[in-house]
Amino acid sequence: MKPGSKTGVVRRPLFVLASAILVAVLVVIVQNPSLAVDPQLSAGALTVFNRTSAAFEKPASNLNQDEIDRHDVGDPLFERSHIPLATHEDAGLGPLFNANSCVACHVRNGRGAPVPGVSLVRVALQEADGATPAPEWGWQIQDHAIFGHQPEATMDLTWREEPRTGNEPPLQKVHVDLIRPNGDVVADGEMNRSLRTAPPLIGLGLLEAVPDQEILSHADPDDGDGDGISGRAVLLEDEDGQQALGRFGWKAGTATVQEQTAEAYLNDMGLTTAAGPETNTTAEGQPADITWEELTAVTFYSQSLGAPATKRSGKDPVVSKGTSLFGDLQCATCHVPSHATSTDPDVVVQAIRDQTIWPYTDLLAHDMGPGLDDGVAEHGYTSSAEWRTVPLWGLGLTNRVNGTAGYLHDGRARTVDEAIRWHGGEAEASKESYLALAPGDRQALLDWLQGL
């Protein structure tokens, strides 16, 4: 709570003192430019100074009026509940879908809870190491349908505690039953299934603006430096053979925010999108449910969200201790703290250019070991055990924004501690080091993470 005074008499000397402090701070910054790069400003100049449950819904701090107006056009579209329409066959929502709006899963732009209606299930056959989609359903189960249609299948989730390890509290894991419309349960051996929650939306425009070469500079696919941590860039290829670096989604399966938005419309809501500004049809020539203007507005809305300032300044002892431990445990090798965004003038929001940001990700895919192997190697771009390093900005606001929503792709981790303890594969050594920490140090690391 910012305290203050009741009278101008009190305020005047405060203002004078504040001005003096400002001048002093400016002098220090001019003499030491690196001090201007404050990790508390997680999204650089786009940082949102808000740590309420609405923090993820706030537009970036430094948008100009035109950009704010564009952001405000996309906002209601992002929240719009879609319904079936009569304008063409299968117009509007569905007929098969997972949710009827973006916010149904990205609740308050944050994490979705691991429950039916808010999360979805990806599937793959067990053969070919999970790189083959289910013949009748593809990679994703549409578990809802508009009235008069049958969903592909519905999900029934059973949470089971794992055997305890040492004195650690038990972890939990979900078993997903898939139930066909006729009531038959899909046999476990028939296909692998992976529950997926919606990740927070914050800072997407900034992650999109991290230069490819910056991401590639952290890649070490063959573990050339022998540290046990590889990191592989996910190279996507379109039908024309054009390659792009995957950055978005749990397995880095899409390259741009617009592509991610269009895929969510199609796969999650059953809504087709226009192929360009001059047409109301899709790339396949079908009538589009979402116009180009709507698609670009929702994309812009996502790109122009900021990310919240951290709870504590960079000089706070909790931050010093936490970041030190984070580095010592090699967490920062994958959760790379900071990046600079592109200086390319051709960005969607000018404010995104040339920012130092603190997302704590390398945007690379890592083998996370058998505990997190979900059996689904989406589109063959990643193995079933590989996951894109999750950005950590806003992590400490999870409970405030989304109540009991969990961590990791299927929300299995009820706490950050559990999420860390699920790490394996390339992160096995880091996890073991975490488990070996003195209780005070472990808590210090968690306290810092809760301030992100």
Binding site: V25, I29, A36
Partner: protein
Amino acid sequence: MAEFRPFISKASLTLMAGLLVVGCAEKNMHADGVTPASVSRNFVENLVLPSYAELAEESGALEEALQALANDPTDAHLAAARQQWIETRPLWEITESWAFGPAATEGLDSDLDDWPVSVLELDQALATEPFTADTFSQLGTTSIGFHGIEFVLYGDGNERPTAADLTPQQTAYLARAGAAFHDTAEQLLSSWTGADGFGAELTGDPDGTVLEMIEGAIGALEEVHLEKLGAVLEEGPEGLESRFSGATNTDIVFNVVGAQRVFEDTGLKQLLTAENADLAEQLSESLAMSRAAAEAMPSMLSQRLDDPAVVESMETAIEATEEAFNLMTQALETLDSF
């Protein structure tokens, strides 16, 4: 000069931080003994919990009225059901300033108040004989709740049905929709109540709760000016929330009343006054003006959008609520430790 822009921005942020450091010298000075703890307690105990209790109670009355209509579809029962819908509706709209927490994270808001109505689906479902529990279970959130019930009670916005017009499927739907609605309203009340409820969580974090209260009001005011009215003027009447009953204007009034009660009835105004008396007074006046502007809008907006005077009344309400939104945002910035 472009390369200096980020530095300038960071310097501005540093100024803000510096002012905060200085301001901390005056911590805990609030007028009339009002503290974040008293404000958050007032908010939970005297505003939110009674509001949800009243909503749950009147939802029970709505369920009964709809069941009575289903049992005996007379014009008297239809009129009573409509009247109960009209009386229940503001009790929800006023709560939209505190629709954070379980209403959002547990999906209860959608179950009660999703819109627009999925007319195609609902028409198809209501043409299904007989209308069973299984039929109802196939309907999504845009076919149930306030607006699904409203659609069947009032018709599609043209000629209102009489009891004789109602089909057995429609009355069966109303009975099931009423029961589901009451159930959800009870869940909402329960989620806030007791030692493990969301209300207790909020009173345990008074400083954070004061900011949540303001954010809640900001969200409600923003939805009014951007979506409930703003988008309608851009896109047409189908986006009007309560267009079948013609009660959108009343929705807006109670949205503003909710924001007003958060500010005026909890001690929040005194907290802000202690920081910035001018802003507190401006916000108070702005909320009153927003309410007056909302009250000046006529009913049945969907049928009057070609009347320039009606459009002007909506534009006035949009401007007034946008102004209140901006001032409420300033209040947040004033009271936030950032």
